[in-house]
């Protein structure tokens, strides 16, 4: 035994910082959620161009995922990692870089998203300069983390840390590959992938952001903080190991279930479905493991609000991971996709699993970090019950909204016609449920306010200076050998003896590399064929790139976040082709950098919009949707009639597109001239139809030109018989 003991202390200052950041950004994220929840039943609530639903919805999702859940993960990871490794974080400076860098990124997101700077890929909206900053801060975090691992004083690495390691590695990979893009100005870029490939990349990212940002890090937290709060070890350590490896092996394949019945090749969609269904087992294994950790401590749950939060969190994990695989089954997905069902599913996970696990953890940490009693246990109870009823109201209302709208979309009457041909009728039906959601959200936020007040009062009674306990532990002995007698005999005996596994666990770098390989190989096998095997994306001769003016209009479409409510992807299902027209083909979106297929239909699909209405209809509709569709809930965009098109910027957009292989021909040199000419035509047609005059250089003309182009090329192909 090594006699020398190191004396050291843990860095709790950084944990306190992350704790406050979690709660404050959480409140901000929830409040933005409440605003957009009110905007749906009350379109007048879209107060200014910067505050419309399309711009605030990405801010809500980013704030809740990366600011609230992100800071919660960091808070718990810094606290638990140091204690599980018996080592202080390697560099306090890097910890601070991580903290302040991450907060600066959040502030940058809060400014740029309302300004309309967006890559328009869900949860990856932030533009390229911020993406680079995220990569830099993440690397600082990772370096600090991995060096700390090598300086640890426990030989075994506890399973919670495996979950953290997998999260750190995978999030880095996902972030880099999904965000590869060509800049066209300081805050505008185009994804290097197009159409089917971009969609595949995006949902590989999107699903694994849920997996490796909202699931694995929080499972790590669960495996540390639940045993802590219950004061007993996890029910089965074996099960937790199995939980870990199954998630690493399975999760990465599940992304394509977000693209069922779209133009994605069928094999990919089926593969995603199968792996999603397999996820049932580890998810429920993990849930059972969490709940059974409370064996013999159930009487404590009635008295301890912290355990209450954990029990609901783990139950919500079980419910949403039961529902996820179910939704990934194609026939269920056909009903649920594009509806509020998905929104309800997500909120069971986010409000229940991530939210409640965070609250339980924060309340457990507060007295220890602020070195005083919690201010009020009664207020903790209030927070718990307010938030629990908030979740119930939210999800019950939104599940019914999803099922209602999904069923209305597919209903045929006895004559074989759509029963609800007017889309807006299916929206009207949701309004009562939207108001119940507002109530549920208000309760949840009230709970959050109670929580913050409680934490503030706890903090206020902290000691003048924090005590910093000194911990003593011996460093790892480099000459250590496994006392376990090496197995003799055949390969099988040596394999099951597990000496190799103990050695692997002892080598964090090797362990990390193996995890990374499992994740990368899976990703390559799933994604690469759509890039390199031609039969996956059959081309269509009549599909041509957008004109420069249409491209400018598409930029506006992206900026206003239209894709948050409108899909451009008609599924090959009878009730969709009846309602919207011919189903969408993979070859149609070969020039779509990025793809704009959308994931939710709060408004109707737009893939075949071109030519359906005259130009003037679009001008009036954008000015005030309720002028043409009385019950529409779309925000009004009157400013598009006064904002002037930035013709010089169009050239940059065209050049960036040309750089990633879009055949632009002459437009590479003359984009602004071409755009002006087409704008004059559109403006003339609007004026001739009795519309407003002098629109030739206004943004509304570009947007109209874009909307009128949607689906036109395919119609031309059918008309001319050319394929």
């Amino acid at each position: 035994m090594n006699a020398r003991l190191d004396s050291f202390s843990y860095d709790d200052e950084i944990v306190r910082k992350f704790l406050w950041a979690t709660m404050i950004w959480g409140l901000v994220g929830f409040l933005i959620g409440l605003i957009i929840a009110i905007q749906l039943p009350l379109p007048g609530f879209n107060a200014a161009p910067y505050l419309t639903f399309g711009r605030l919805r990405p801010l809500h999702t980013n704030a809740v995922i990366f600011a609230f859940a992100g800071n919660a993960f960091f808070c718990g990871a810094y606290y638990s990692t140091q204690r599980l490794l018996k080592a202080r974080m390697w560099s306090d400076a890097l910890s601070k870089v991580h903290f302040w860098g991450w907060q600066a990124i959040i502030v940058a997101a809060a400014i740029t998203l309302p300004l309309g700077f967006t890559q328009s890929k869900e949860y990856a909206e932030l533009e390229w300069p911020i993406d680079i900053a995220i990569a830099v801060v993440w690397v600082a975090f990772a370096v600090n983390y991995f060096v700390t691992l090598t300086k640890r004083r426990e030989r075994h690495i506890y399973v919670a840390i495996w979950f953290y390691i997998a999260s750190i590695i995978t999030v880095a990979l996902l972030h880099i590959f999904n965000n590869l893009s060509v800049p066209a100005g300081a805050f505008k870029s185009y994804s290097i992938y197009a159409g089917v490939q971009d969609a595949f990349m995006q949902w590989w990212y999107g699903h694994n952001a849920v997996a490796f940002f909202l699931t694995t890090p929080f499972l790590g937290l669960m495996y540390y903080f639940m045993p802590k709060a219950a004061d007993r070890p996890v029910f089965s350590y074996k099960l937790s190991i199995l939980h870990f490896w199954s998630l690493v092996f399975l999760y990465i394949w599940a992304g394509p279930h977000h693209l069922h019945y779209t133009a994605l090749p069928d094999w990919a969609s089926t593969l995603g479905m199968l792996f999603s269904v397999m996820l049932w087992m580890p998810s429920w294994g993990g849930m059972v493991n969490g709940l059974l950790t409370l064996r013999g401590a159930w009487h404590k749950v009635t008295e301890d609000p912290i355990l209450k939060f954990f029990v609901v969190a783990v139950t919500a994990y079980g419910m949403s991971t039961f529902e996820g695989p179910m939704l990934s089954i194609k026939s269920v997905n056909a009903l649920a996709h594009y509806t509020d069902w998905i929104i309800a599913h997500v909120h069971t996970g986010a409000l229940g699993w991530n939210g409640f696990l965070t609250f339980g953890m924060v309340y457990w940490l507060a007295p220890r970090l602020f070195q005083t009693e919690i201010f009020s246990k009664k207020l903790m109870e209030w927070h718990f019950w307010l938030a629990t009823f908030g979740i119930l109201l939210y999800v019950v209302a939104i599940y019914s909204a999803g099922a209602t709208q999904g069923l209305m979309w597919r209903a045929f009457d006895e004559t074989g016609r759509l029963q609800y041909p007017d889309f807006v009728e299916t929206v009207m039906r949701l309004m009562p449920m939207y108001w119940v959601r507002v109530m549920g959200g208000t309760l949840y936020i009230t709970g959050m306010l109670v929580g913050i007040y409680n934490l503030y009062r706890t903090w206020a009674s902290r000691p003048a200076t924090y005590e910093v306990p000194v911990v003593q532990a011996a460093p790892l002995n480099p000459a250590y050998t496994d006392p376990h007698a090496p197995a003799t005999g055949g390969l099988w005996a040596r394999f099951t003896d597990m000496g190799w596994h103990r050695r692997w666990e002892g080598m964090p770098l090797f362990f990390s590399v193996m995890t990374a390989i499992a994740v990368i190989v899976a990703s390559l096998f799933e994604i690469v064929p759509t890039f390199l095997i031609k039969s996956n994306v059959p081309t269509i001769a009549s599909i041509k790139p957008y004109t420069p003016l249409e491209l400018a209009g598409r930029n506006i479409y992206q900026r206003e976040g239209c894709f948050n409510c409108h899909s451009q992807m008609i599924r090959p299902l009878m009730y969709e082709t009846e309602r919207y027209g011919d189903y969408s083909k993979p070859g149609e979106s070969v020039y779509e950098h990025p793809f704009l297929w959308g994931s939710r239909r709060i408004g109707p699909d737009l893939a075949r919009l071109g030519g359906k209405y005259p130009d003037l209809w679009h001008v009036r509709h954008m000015y005030n949707p309720r002028e043409v569709v009385q019950k529409s809930i779309m925000p009004a965009y009157p400013h598009l009639q006064t904002a002037v098109i930035d013709f010089a910027a169009i050239q940059k957009s065209v050049d960036a597109m040309a750089m990633i292989g879009v055949p632009y021909g002459d437009a590479v040199n003359t984009a602004p001239e071409l755009a002006r000419a087409q704008a004059a035509q559109v403006a003339a047609s609007v004026e001739a139809a009795g519309g407003p005059k002098g629109l030739a250089d206004k943004e509304i003309v570009a947007l109209t030109a874009y909307l009128q182009r949607l689906g036109r090329d395919l119609k031309n192909a059918t008309a001319g018989g050319a394929r």
């Binding site: 035994m1 090594n2 638990s80 204690r83 599980l84 018996k86 004083r153 426990e154 030989r155 075994h156 506890y158 399973v159 919670a160 495996y223 540390y224 903080f225 045993p227 802590k228 004061d231 007993r232 070890p233 996890v234 350590y237 074996k238 190991i241 199995l242 490896w245 199954s246 092996f249 911990v471 003593q472 532990a473 011996a474 460093p475 790892l476 002995n477 250590y480 006392p483 394999f495 099951t496 003896d497 597990m498 596994h501 103990r502 499992a518 190989v521 899976a522 096998f525 064929p529 890039f531 390199l532 095997i533 031609k534 039969s535």
Partner: protein, 60 residues
Amino acid sequence: MRLSDIMSAANLSAYAEVAMILFIAAFVAIVIATFAPGRQRTYDAASRMPLDDEHPQTPR
């Protein structure tokens, strides 16, 4: 000739199945190893790690 022409002609699809089998094999190996007898003591020590902030639980 583009890269995608070469890749399309190369008939690589069988390798996806090979990868699948390797993955399943690796996973089954982990399951067997995890549940192999004789590890309970190690796991018991490891599962107590979160409960003690001051005293190391596993050998130095």
